[in-house]
């Protein structure tokens, strides 16, 4: 059951707090040993400051004294930090300042606000650090709302060269993700990506690691966001550096990419080919039912196996934190892909065979096909109900048509060239 579970492979790329929801998702599925999972969960929590959650895991059993002590300590620390930070927040929440921040533009490098604050409001540089510490602490305690607000302030005060800037970006993103504020999270993700793409790192290796991180984090956002799947394709597949990062560090992300491509309505056609290529290359280093499904369908042309894989996919998807929601979508799209393939290859298919291949009853299949033909206007496909067959219209292209097709485009291209030449000449005369 756990063979295709990616939690373990993903964990190194995620923050502790982000792993918690994954663990919580996994627990009721019982694909891992329950005891070890609870223990794992507890260890994880104890690394954070979320003492109350740790205590919860003991669920009635006596709680070790050390934890009680830690709790007291944390509360003390919190109070200390809070007393320090209150004044800072007070300044920052003056309406005038707030307005400045909202209108702030990246380009200014946040210098202006800081200047303004130091001049008019007794603001010191130390305060910025306090703010960061406090937000980090609150984040550790699980108070993501406060953390996110504070980090928002922090980000607006500090310029990009600050060593904590990247941390702040990550922190903010994590907070938003954990608060499930997808719109905000998306904005933060874009900011973080822009920052990483500017490559402020010393080594290529660091850059690629950061990319791998951000891709994992992005899964939270994109799979919870209506158009997110298209954005996954855009980021993971169409951006070469990110695709490289996948290949080098995290080939398991191919599963998410594959699901995104298969389920995407608008991008599927163009991306599928590229995706299959990548999957083929990485086949030796990573494969799971999802990628295997595509391999069977597009490389091996083995429909029986594809069918088997599709069945396995359901299991995998339902046990995946990110993908469980898109299971139905995926199943539908995958079936469609299989059917499309059949249509391209066959002239005549029995519905019975199709139903078997698609995992449906015969009647269901017939209805489904009718639906398909209507919605996608599959050319020339007809159902012969009496024989229980789907018949494709033969659409062989005659040579005559081929020649026409080839030459038709030529006129257009020639015209374009002529236009361009004309344009070039005009520009030249203008210069002269």
């Amino acid at each position: 059951m756990s063979t295709f579970d990616l939690t373990q492979r993903m964990a190194p790329f995620l923050d502790l707090h982000l792993i918690i929801p994954l663990l919580e998702f996994i627990e009721p599925r019982r694909i891992y040993d329950e005891k070890s999972l609870t223990e794992m969960h507890r260890q994880l929590l104890s690394k954070t400051n979320m003492i109350d959650s740790v205590i919860e895991t003991y669920s009635g059993k006596p709680i070790p004294a050390a934890i009680e002590n830690k709790k007291k300590q944390i509360i003390k620390e919190r109070d200390e930090l809070k007393s320090k930070v209150d004044s800072v927040v007070a300044i920052l929440e003056i309406p005038e300042v707030k307005e400045m921040m909202d209108n702030n533009r990246e380009r200014d490098g946040n210098v202006r606000i800081l200047e303004h604050l130091t001049q008019n409001h007794n603001f010191t540089v130390d305060m910025v650090d306090t703010l960061f510490k406090y937000s980090k602490f609150m984040y550790e305690c699980g108070n993501y709302t406060v953390a996110s607000v504070c980090l928002y302030y922090y980000r607006n005060l500090v310029n990009q060269a600050d060593p904590n800037y990247l941390n702040a970006l990550y922190g903010k993103l994590a907070s938003e993700i954990l608060l499930q504020e997808w719109e905000h999270a998306r904005d933060d993700l874009l900011k973080l990506r822009a920052y990483i793409d500017a490559n402020p790192f010393d080594t290529e290796w660091e850059l690629i690691t950061q990319r791998a991180w951000i891709m994992h984090w992005a899964l939270f956002v994109y799979y919870n966001y209506p158009k997110g799947r298209d954005e996954i394709i855009e980021m993971f597949l169409n951006q070469q550096p990110y695709l490289n990062a996948i290949q080098v560090l995290a080939p398991h992300l191919l599963r998410y990419l594959a699901v995104a491509v298969v389920t995407s309505k608008s991008r599927q056609k163009n991306s599928l080919k590229d995706l299959v290529k990548v999957i083929d290359i990485e086949r030796y280093s990573y494969k799971d039912p999802v990628t295997d499904f595509l391999t069977c369908l597009y490389i091996k042309y083995d429909f029986d196996e594809a069918q088997e894989m599709l069945q396995k996919c359901e299991e995998v998807l339902s046990n995946d934190f990110f993908l469980t929601a898109v299971l139905n979508d995926f199943r539908e799209s995958a079936r469609l892909l299989i059917f499309e393939m059949f249509c391209r290859i066959h002239q005549c298919i029995t519905i019975e065979m199709l139903a078997r291949r698609l995992n449906m009853s015969q009647e269901e299949a017939e209805r489904w096909i009718v639906d398909l033909i209507r919605t996608y206007r599959i050319e020339g496909a007809k159902i012969d109900s009496k024989l229980g067959q789907v018949v494709m219209g033969v659409k062989s292209v005659s040579i005559h048509e081929q020649v026409m097709e080839n030459t038709k485009r030529l006129t257009l291209r020639a015209q374009q060239i002529a236009l361009q030449l004309e344009k070039g000449r005009q520009e030249k005369t203008k210069v002269n």
Binding site: L207, Q240, L243, D280, I345, Q347, V394, I399, Q420
Partner: protein, 869 residues
Amino acid sequence: MAGPEDDEKRVVRAQKDKKFDELKGIIKQNRDAKSNKDLNKLLAGFDSLTKSYEKSKAVFQRQNVSTPRFYIRSLVEIEDYVNKMWEDKEAKSSLSKNNAKALPALRQKLKKYVKEQSLADLVTDYRANPDEDGYETPDDEDDDDLEIVPEAKTEKSPGKPADKVLDSDSNSDSEDEDSSNWSSEPDTSGSDSDEDSVTKMEQLRRYFLKKEFREDSKDGKKEGKHGRQEDRKRVIRVKEVAEDDDDNDWTPVNREKSLVHFDPKEEVTHDVMIKKLNEVMSGRGKRTTDRNQHVANLQKLLEVSEQKELGLGISVKITFCIISALFELNSKISDFMDYETFMNTLQTVNQLLDVLISSENVKLSVTYAEEDENLKDDTQDYRVQGSILIAVQRLDAELAKILQNADCHSNDYIEKLKAEKDMCGLIEKAEKYVELRNQSGIFDKHEVCKVYMMRIGHIYYKYKDQCDIEGDVGQVMDYLCKKIYALDDEKRLRQRAMLCHVYWLAVHDQWHRARDLLLMSHMQAIVDHSDIDTQILYNRTICQLGLCAFRHGFIKEAHQGLSEIQNTQRAKELLAQAVGTRQHEKTPEQEKIDRSRQVPYHMHINVELMECVYLICSMLLEIPHMASCEFEMRRRMLSRSFHYQLKQSEKASLTGPPENTREHVVAASKAMLNGDWKKCQDYIVNEKMNQKVWNLFHNAEPVKEMVIRRIQEESLRTYLLTYSTVYSTVSLKKLASLFELTKKDVHSIISKMIIQEELSATLDEPTDCLIMHRVEPSRLQMLALNLSDKLQTLSENNEQILEPRTGRGGYQGPGSWFPGRNERQGDNKKGSGGYQGERRGGSGQDGKRGNWGSQGNQQRRHPQKTRAF
């Protein structure tokens, strides 16, 4: 001759002699210049002659020596020569520009000089009484006498001989002079020569006698002082030898031997030892030093030092000297070491290494200057200058040379190859030593890299079982390579290590890793700019990788890898397994260099095997391709050399049964073209081929199965493509039974062909048969199609002219990642010599070389992963 007097005189002589030697040297040069008619050089020579004479004058004056006669003679000679040239119009006009300029200048200078220095008298004097050519030697000698013995000198008769006992040193000088005269002026008159040879013989005798005498006196002195019996005995013996035999070999031997003697009374201390060592070492590299004797001397020193327990410092130093001396036993660089000497050296180095490993207080490093050496103070660390690692390296190079020069088909080669094992052991030991002492900072980073590289060099081409390394060889290889990746700054070793690693992985069938590593190294892009040895290694790696791909069934990749080399017709040369046949373009030096680059026989890649694999790959790719292009006007060839082979066999009027591997593949190809897979298989897999090809693989059976399976598949494809016009329907069942494939496989192959639009057909599921739609186009239609094709390329070309293709954004397909070798052909030609230049010669059509099939994006992975190491 009394001792003190002798000493005094010797000092005087030395100074004067030095001057004389100098002058004589210049005169000799001038003579050479004259005989070469190089007036420019002569002019310069004349200048330096006068200058150095000017300098020596003070010395001569102090010694009351007048202008030496040989100097005057040389002036006269130059004058004569210049005048002769001056008058000879014809010769003058034929002079080069520079020389023509130099002639009047020289003439002018000479005149002026003679006048200024008031040498005119002497010159006329000399002219009046010139030395005859044959008379030269005694005359010279006389000159010497004259100068050496001031009391005998008379102002008025500089040229007159004076009888005096000669000093052997100056005498030997005159000997030299004499012989040089002889060589430069061979046209001495015949009548003189008899007389001359007599004088010469006499001279020789006298020379030895005198020398002996002097030696005697010297030794006598010693004897007198120290009373050494042995010495005396030897001297007497030597005398005897000298008397009945004037073979002059004995002198240096005697001298050398005496060098190693220690005075028994005097305690052999460090200082004495060091002094002695320096004395011995000063003879190093001199022409007179017998190299064998030199080694023996050093060995004796070592013995003594060990007897007297002078400490490790000294013995390490001496051992190191011995090692260098052993290396120098052979003077010529290109020559290879004697096998015996090699083993000897190997042992010495091994011993030294043992000493170094076991005793921590001895530090041998190149970073110490000679003054910093500490050979005696055992309270501190011993510091010795030198590098054991370089010695090991050199030894390694020598072994390669020995193997290169041995006859690879003889037992001798095998015998010598045994040394390779010892060498491996030594290198391993050196590596251990490096790792043990790396902290102490005595190694140069580069040296350390080299040691790792050497180890890699001995491992990378061997199959696992052949290396006797404990543990996992793969891990060792990994470890070594990573060391180099981390340490090496100047890329070259890193590249080489990476190539070796790829090679090793390829040999061990780790195809994916090997491929990824190669792609990440970006070697394809930079190999043209690397040195030739690296290019050779690259070629070897590519071939090995190709073979590996073949074993894994990646036919396309294998074909690509092997075609780089196989398409050129000179695979052996590119792999440095044979020297190129087109020798006429090469100078002897180039040829020599080429030869020195040859890979030793035991590292060779089997070229015949490679060719066969390449042809099989070509067959599997090309035959279906040919079938599908039957109606197209211009066919694209995937592999030129394969087509060449096919054509050759078509030309043959009578085809007998195939004999060599090549013919087998060609015959198989023909069978496949007819769709007869069984015959094709029989040609590829049979006893003969087993012996020549398949048994050479480590895992022959799976490879054979793979090949047969591929033959079935490709035959099916060819069959369908060829006969698609004949059939209107084919049952899948029949196809399956015809090609002995499962129905599922047939289905999947056909599906693939339909999707890729190779075959215009559809399947009919209920009846399980294939319905062909292909209609044979009429001639007109075909022409129309071709026309439209051409129009398309035309417009594409136009577009490109107008707007050179810039980088297309987003995902780039394969083939766009590097400018491609073809574009850099220009700088290839000049730079890389014979190992790259014509590589693309046979394969102009495949623009996507260097990337393995469809892994375009893989290649971009490189920078990232390298950092990871």
